[in-house]
Amino acid sequence: MTFTEQLITIGLCVLGTYLTRALPFMIFSEKRATPKYIRYLGDALPSAIFAMLVVYCLKDVSIVEGNHGLPEFLSIVLIIVLHLRWRQMLISISGGTVCYMLLLRLVFNS
């Protein structure tokens, strides 16, 4: 690949990303009222998206092989417990991450 071709390749990645981010804003201009159906979607989508993103983060965890997803499962349980107890994002996130790293090193270090 020549240098120009590299620039085009990177440029197309930039363009593709920008388009997916900007398209909704281009279609539904901020000057006009957003259609009711789209506002409904904007309201109903976030919790569905966050659920989808959690699945996305865990997509490569295998239940049948390796650690059977146990370190992930246990750490997520801890995150939920910590968060229900304190409702402090940083405590829940760091607690869960440290737990996961310790589990990998001390318990599941095969």
């Binding site: 071709e5 990645c13 957003t34 976030p46 966050f50 989808m52």
Partner: protein
Amino acid sequence: MSDRKKILSALRAAFPFTVPIMTGFCFLGLAYGIYMNVLGFGVLYPTLMAALIFGGSLEFVAATMLLAPFAPIQTFAVAVMIQARHLFYGLAMLEKYKGLGLKRQYLIFGLCDETFAINCSTRVPSGIDRGWFYFWVTLLNQSYWVTSAMLGGLLGEVLTFNTEGLGFVMTAMFVVIWLEQFLTEGRHVTSLIGFAASMACLIAFGSDSFLIPSMVLILIVLTAFRLRIER
């Protein structure tokens, strides 16, 4: 309140929300820079790609595309498919990003997963300017990503460190944001639809290609049951 004060107080309010992202991006960005370095790209590549594409997963894929024969149409198609989930973020942020003037253009450009997660789920503290709050979250996140990609590219293989499992910080963050959403929302059915649809598609389509089918399925279910969900 003077402009300067307004901007600085928004920065102070925004920073704590971005700390988990800083941790995760330092790790992932370094990994990306090192990866590019190992593939033989100079430091400018990961730095500029991090700044301009600003979308983690595609940047890794783009690296392999740079090493393959030139295929512009395929490159563009892959980019759009990998990034398609951003279409949902835009729909969800339409109202929140209204009336923010020039800042809005940058907010749209920088709407990555993590920035979306914070700006969508956080109630901007009272007395803080909404536009500047969103702006700082976006800019801080982007600066973490670009800086760590650059460092990774500079230091390359010099770095040897045992950070196995640190990437879990991102999973932890999405779990917490989802849980927070779940605890505050009036109805839980949309969360459950998100889980059920993406799990079903993950099983049916496999981990490499389940995102787009999941999005379509979520849209169909949300549309079909709109009257029931809205009630």
